[in-house]
Amino acid sequence: MTSNPANMTILTLSGIEKYYGTSHVVKDLNLAIEAGEFLTVLGPSGCGKTTTLRMIGGFELPTSGTITLKGEDISQLPPYKRHVNTVFQNYALFPNMNVAENIAFGLKQKKGAEKMSKSQIQSRVEEMLQMVQMTDFAKRKPQELSGGQQQRIAIARAVANNPEILLLDEPLGALDLKLRKQMQIELKSLQKRLGKTFVYVTHDQEEALTMSDRIAIMNAGVLEQVGTSSEIYYHPQTPFVAEFIGESNKMQATVAHVRERGEAWIEAGEIGFAFPKELQKTSLTSNQAVTVFLRPEAIRLYPVNASVDAAFKGLVEDIIFVGSTRKYRVHLGNEIVLTALETTLGTPQYAVGDDVRISWKPEDCSVFEL
């Protein structure tokens, strides 16, 4: 039946609302998580992402709405009755137990038909220790381990119970940058090896973009968009997503007029460009105020005397070196300043004070009604 588990929904959040007193922290959240996917819930702090994760884990109960795990309504079940496990932000390893005992803890809680014998528990613990390459540390206390090592044990402990879904609450937040990058790769490869569904909460968009199969972006309790990294990056569905992910040039513009076949002519100051109907999220109408987002890397710079279609004249105001790329801030008159990128290999093409021509393709723009 389910020969392709990637297309099977394992967890459904439908109509989830969460209030703390009068503050409305999660608003009408609908999300279907697919079996075996690495889904990241990304958003600024206070957007409701951690609350959402805690509702899946059972540490918070939704004010209304249902959470369904493999067809079973788990909305009101306590955490110890849900087949999901959590990797906590600060690991929450039990200081009174050594590493092996920590990993065995969940296994020892199993009762009835699931009850495991001592030797079964021991072999599972060893398997988990091997998985995270911590076999030599079995007898150590968590306090004696480094942050990265504690992290691995926390993952091993959560995976030991063989959960349907592994929940990870900013698990790399406490690690330094190098270690965090390394753990990102480890986590991703672990997820692939186990074939488990990971729901990962972070506010770090680079982390989200590199690790995730899909990203769910939340803002102020609202799920803004769900999609793959490139969908989110190149085709933001809301102004928040366009602005939140990566760098964007943002222009306030108006639709001057709409031509035949729905093609809109968008004007911002002295700049005007055509925006075809098929790229419009909603049909644009004349005199409508819109916001235009444009990625810096989508902007092309040309020498001022080059003959380019639909190119605007600008003045290089500033050049900023940021490692692998060089940022040009180009002034287009009427207070419009756009940022364009160029790789730093080779010598700079333009200098501060140079006149340049600037152009972009309409499909690289995101246009939102105000």
Binding site: G58, Y80, F88, P95, G106, Q109, K110, R157
Partner: protein
């Protein structure tokens, strides 16, 4: 320099103020004479021998130990889950309750004693060691609650949630995760309780019937004049108290390290 002399000097004064009388007692306890007089002419362990042969004194030690151990155990058994609940759940008047629970220590013992003396017979509790035990438990609870509450507040709340997450029921989480992680604070509180119960006079005085506890017995002996035997028993109590306090301090310090 002057400042250093001043601080060292005042510290020395405070310590002398507290400990000189105690040291005098210790010193006198080794005197061979039957009145406290200075200078001591001959040293002996005579009064320790007399003390060890004093049956009513020994019985009082036994009574005190029994009362102290049992009230401490009861205070911990009631106090630990109560404190956990107090820490974990929010309810109206929680802050007030946290303060009120301290009342038995802040209230003069004599008030508690008189109050219990008039209350206990009404609910059918005769004046007895049992009544004394209940009296002790009330103020020991205040100790247990304050000590453990401080520990619970420093305990990572995620530990309990991690236990639930891994399938532990609340009861199982309480015993396998919460209790082991507050164990040192519990032992510390227990030792403090033992010491306080062993020393207690006012509440005990009102509730006791025939069996004297150690402080009451010593108080009785004093009416016959300070015998060197009192010096000997006081020295022993002092010693035991100091040892218990040191252990208790060490344990609380270890908990801080976690």
């Amino acid at each position: 320099m002057l400042r250093r002399i001043f601080t060292t000097g005042s510290a020395a004064f405070v310590l002398a103020f507290i400990y000189l009388p105690l040291l005098t007692i210790v010193w006198y306890s080794f005197s061979a004479e039957s009145v406290n007089s200075f200078p001591i002419k001959a040293y002996s362990l005579e009064w320790y021998r007399v003390m060890a042969a004093d049956e009513s004194l020994l019985r009082a030690v036994g009574t005190s130990l029994r009362v102290a151990v049992l009230s401490t155990i009861v205070a911990l058994l009631i106090g630990t889950p109560a404190t956990f609940a107090l820490h974990k759940f929010d309810f109206p008047g929680k802050k007030l309750l946290e303060r009120i629970v301290l009342m038995p220590i802040t209230l003069p013992g004599i008030v508690t004693g008189v109050a219990m003396l008039s209350f206990f017979p009404r609910i059918g509790v005769e004046l007895s060691l049992f009544a004394v035990g209940i009296g002790h438990v009330t103020f020991l609870l205040a100790i247990v609650v304050t000590q453990l509450l401080a520990r619970f507040k420093r305990l990572d709340p995620n530990l309990e949630q991690a236990a639930y997450d891994l399938g532990a029921t609340p009861l199982s989480a309480f015993f396998s995760v919460i209790i082991p992680n507050i164990r040192t604070a519990m032992i510390g509180a227990a030792l403090l309780c033992l010491v306080l119960s062993m020393d207690e006079i006012p509440v005990t005085f009102f509730l006791i019937s025939r069996d004297n506890t150690l402080p009451i017995e010593i108080y009785g002996m004093m009416r016959r004049g300070i015998t060197p035997e009192v010096n000997a028993i006081s020295t022993l109590i002092f010693l035991v108290t100091v040892i218990i306090l040191i252990i208790s301090l060490r344990l609380t310090r270890n908990t801080n390290d976690q």
